[in-house]
């Protein structure tokens, strides 16, 4: 599975684009988080690897901005592994390993769509990243795998 972030402009928010693509392509899109406000919407979704290219194409054809979510940035120099963030993560993406170090599981993290850990860090080592990785033709899979 690959996580992608879908950005819907104000004009697109009211259209059932995600449902249409699920029906047209028969792709099981797993919606992890969804937010809508007056400026548009944002969906974090999981797509099966083999359907990634055609799904991305389909969303783009309908005017949706698609990118690889860069979730949180953790400054491991600043982090002193207190572990304050651990219990705040709703998807249990943060844990403490054997030697006491805090470890982030980027596969599980839902990033900027959650950010529950960000304001709890006493070292201010966690930054929520709204800026997104770009997807070039063919480069998508590679980048997606790098997240793991």
């Amino acid at each position: 599975m690959v996580r992608i972030l879908l950005r819907f402009s104000e004009a697109l928010v009211e259209k059932p684009i995600t449902s249409q693509i699920i029906l047209e392509l028969k792709v099981p899109i797993n919606i992890i988080t969804a937010h809508v406000n007056s400026k548009g919407g944002e969906i974090l979704a999981e797509i099966p690897d083999d359907a990634l290219d055609k799904t991305v194409k389909a969303f783009r054809a309908k005017g949706v901005e698609v990118s690889i979510p860069k979730l949180v940035e953790v400054d491991m120099e600043a982090c002193f592994s207190c572990g304050t963030c651990v219990s705040l993560c709703p998807v249990e993406a943060i844990s403490i390993d054997k030697d006491g170090s805090v470890v982030f599981d980027r596969e599980k993290c839902v990033g900027s769509t959650c950010s529950a850990c960000v304001d709890a860090c006493p070292a201010r080592a966690i930054k929520s990243v709204k800026q997104l990785g770009t997807i070039d033709k063919g480069g998508l899979k590679k980048k997606a795998q790098k997240q793991s």
Partner: protein, 505 residues
């Protein structure tokens, strides 16, 4: 200092003997975690025979810390009155140029993000800081304005002088409220959805010498990455309830930011993480036993920080073993647990101290005075009463779910109230209606209570301070709060009129 059991078969050793071994490089040193493993595998007698020193460590937010600095005199000289360094207000408790940096003092330009703790960290790191001072000017100190840049090398003295550090153990915090709260125990999710705790448990210095046999005034310790000293018991010290604390001092110029870091706690303020390690000389069999204490034997209370009172409800006892496992049970639910202090750095401190002793760089000292074992941490004497909700609330007028609106309307008139609380057959709150809701219902011809009742009711608890309840009313722009118990049963109501009557008294 040494207390020996007269019938002990093991020969006690003296501190002088241990120091002789350290000087020769022969001392046998274990970290507290290693000691526990040795006692478990080989027994306490063997551990006592073989081990001379056990090292401990802790690294946590210690707000009651600070640094005393002396800047030297300017020309013309100034008796500093108001002082800021990097926009952090600095305390000037003494003569002209002695300043005390408190870690919780916050930058006036970046409050909650940068404070005295960060300033101490920056100074330790060798960074240049910006000092501004004003003064009223005297004949001997004529200057009234000053601005200069300083590094730690420019300071005459830069000492950490921490008045309450190294808590033996601390509460585990949870939150019963409907909203997330931000405390000195970190971010606490509503409805007991997470828990936080602080302290290194079995690695904590005071837990390994709970009777203060070896830790006392004058004990040489690891402080912030260099050698420091215990200078007495800390404020709020209460050894008999395992709430011992220490007052410590160390040369901050020699410290390292690996073991001394500024911290920002959202909506609480800034603080300083301090690293402390204390060597425990194994002078007798009793100390070998005490340093073998395990996390499963160290208990603390789970405390509801959702209750804004000094004495908060204690919900259960929990061991450090359970806390360190990352989750615990509370009211039959599994909740995740966060540590606020760093076990990783605490371990590194114990290990570093062990290496210093093994390499003859660190000799142990005997305390020149024992710390008190029997003092009590008293609450504040309050000469003015604080009003609580229970003191001003009055009986609530209620109705049942199935009552006709007309009956409720007439009750509003006869009882001369604006709020009617809707309750079930057990007296538990299910909603609230106001005279406005009823007026609207009549105007619109609605007959059913269900059409006008508000289901999301903002409430108060009887033991809450009235000030907090009033702020809640203002926040939600409402004029009354039903007062309920923990099961949701209606005990009364407190209105904005009650508050104004109290203030106008």
């Amino acid at each position: 200092m040494q207390k020996f059991k007269p019938n002990s078969k093991q020969n006690p050793r003296t501190l002088e003997e241990i120091n002789e071994k350290i000087k020769k490089g022969d001392a046998q040193v274990l970290t507290a975690e290693e000691m526990k493993r040795l006692v478990e595998s080989s027994g306490v007698e063997v551990a006592f025979k073989e081990i001379d020193v056990v090292t401990t460590g802790t690294f946590g937010a210690m707000c009651s810390s600070g640094a005393i600095i002396n800047t030297g005199h300017s020309d013309p000289p100034i008796k500093m009155d108001k002082v800021w360094i990097n926009d952090v207000p600095i305390c000037h408790p003494g003569a002209a140029v002695d300043l005390y940096i408190g870690p919780t003092a916050m930058s006036e330009t970046q409050p909650f993000e940068y404070g005295g703790g960060h300033l101490i960290e920056d100074l330790v790191n060798g960074k240049e800081v910006d000092l501004k001072a004003t003064a009223y000017g005297t004949d001997c100190y004529p200057r009234t304005q000053l601005r200069t840049q300083l590094t730690k090398d420019d300071l005459n003295q830069f000492y950490l002088l921490n008045f309450r550090n190294c808590y033996q153990h601390y509460n585990c915090a949870v939150n019963s409220r409907d909203e997330t709260i931000y405390t000195y125990m970190g971010k606490l999710l509503p409805h007991f959805r997470n828990a936080t705790f602080s302290g290194a448990g079995e690695l904590n210095p005071l837990m390994n010498d709970p009777d203060y046999e070896t830790i006392g005034m004058g004990t040489r310790i690891f402080l912030g990455g260099t050698q420091g000293y215990v200078i007495g018991e800390g404020t709020q010290h209460e050894a008999r309830s395992q709430n011992g604390t220490l007052m410590v001092r160390g040369d901050a110029k020699k410290m390292s930011t690996e073991f001394l870091q500024g911290a920002a706690l959202t909506k609480y303020g800034t603080s300083l993480y301090v690293g402390i390690g204390i060597p425990i000389p194994i002078l007798n069999l009793g100390l070998a036993k005490k340093t073998a204490i395990r996390d499963e034997e160290i208990f603390t209370s789970v405390v509801d920080y959702g209750v804004p009172r000094r004495d908060r409800p204690k919900l259960r006892q929990v061991s450090y073993k359970e806390l360190k496992s990352g989750s615990m049970t509370l009211e039959d639910k599994r909740i995740r647990v966060s540590s606020l202090s760093s076990l990783k750095v605490a371990r590194k401190i114990a290990k570093t101290l062990k290496e210093w002793i093994e390499s003859s760089e660190f000799l142990l000292t005997a305390p020149v005075e024992r710390l008190p074992l029997d003092n009590v941490f008293k609450p504040m004497r309050q000469t003015e009463e604080t009003p609580f909700v229970a003191g001003v609330m009055h009986a609530a007028v209620t109705c049942a779910e199935n009552e006709p609106i007309r009956d409720i309307a007439s009750r509003i008139v006869t009882r001369s109230v604006n709020h009617i609380i809707v309750v079930d057959e057990h007296g538990k709150i299910t909603g609230i209606v106001t005279s406005w809701d009823i007026t609207r219902a009549m105007a619109e011809g609605r007959k059913a209570l269900a059409d006008v009742v508000s289901r999301r009711v903002v409430t108060a608890k009887p033991d809450e301070p009235l000030e907090i309840a009033s702020k809640r009313m203002a926040k939600h722009n409402i004029s009354a709060l039903p007062v309920i118990d923990h099961e949701g049963r209606v005990l009364g109501i407190v209105t904005s009129e009650d508050v104004s009557k109290l203030l106008g008294r």
